[in-house]
Amino acid sequence: MERTEAELIAAVLTGDSASFEPLVHKYSPRVFATARRYARRESEVEDIVQEVWLKSFHKLKSFRGDAPFEHWLMRLAVRTCYDFLRGHQRNREASFSDLSEPENEWLERFAAQPESASERADAAKQLIERILEQMSPPARLVITLLEIEDRSVKEISELTGWSVPLVKVRAFRARAEMRKILARLAREKYL
């Protein structure tokens, strides 16, 4: 008979580490998807996910069980991703001179006729990744959660541990920061 999550957690807390494996198996896809939003290299993604699981194992005592385990785990995952962003602030203020040919073409198409530039194109995906990489850690986190994952301000507040007003302020600043990066892109490409 398959054990419930609560039973598995209780078993881990009494010293049965093997009971942690089904939890890792069940929730790893979600944790990997979250980590891939913030890290591009697969080795970095694996490091983040591994850290999330090691932290969750050592902090399992603090899981009170009044909310689903998944919520608790995702909070830990988002905070670990944020720590990763703060520790790897690379490529900031980078130039847009090394855009690939498809990226340049997509931008030219957008400049000529915005409707014809498809958001499903790989070039658009690569461009947004470049832009996100140039944003500050709090701005990138809040834009990802709010605009890309479509989460509410309250949800973001719970995930990040920031207050609701702070999330709103950071979201406002993040949009402005993104606009500034896009303005630089437009200036470098079309002036």
Binding site: P29, R36, H58, E119, A124, I148
Partner: protein
């Protein structure tokens, strides 16, 4: 170029391409192996626990030493003052004493 529109388009591109949920082969086994090779040894947690445990005895010891030094210093001050005044008097009156002895 309309930057607002470009921003919306690129965010839509990010939404349209959700990140992959692919998990490397036997990842959970790897995690478990990592957990078992270092059985819940968290150095910082142990250090924090030891510091918290040491806090109460340290406070008690500090209070004890403060009280002792205050009481001890209190008596010493009195003794020191008496000795000082005696020495001062002897030094000041040394010449007079010597005169008395001569005469």
């Amino acid at each position: 170029m309309n930057l607002e529109q470009l921003q919306q388009k690129l965010l839509a591109a990010a939404r349209a391409n959700p990140s992959s949920e692919r998990v490397p082969y036997a990842f959970e086994k790897r995690i478990l192996a990592r957990l078992l090779e270092s059985p819940s040894f968290d150095f910082s947690a142990l250090w924090a626990q030891a510091l918290w445990r040491a806090a109460a005895p340290c406070v008690a010891l500090a209070l004890l030493l403060s009280a002792w030094s205050l009481i001890g210093t209190g008596t010493n001050v009195a003794t020191d003052n008496e000795e000082l005044s005696r020495d001062f008097e002897q030094t000041m009156l040394a010449a007079v004493d010597e005169t008395e002895e001569v005469w």
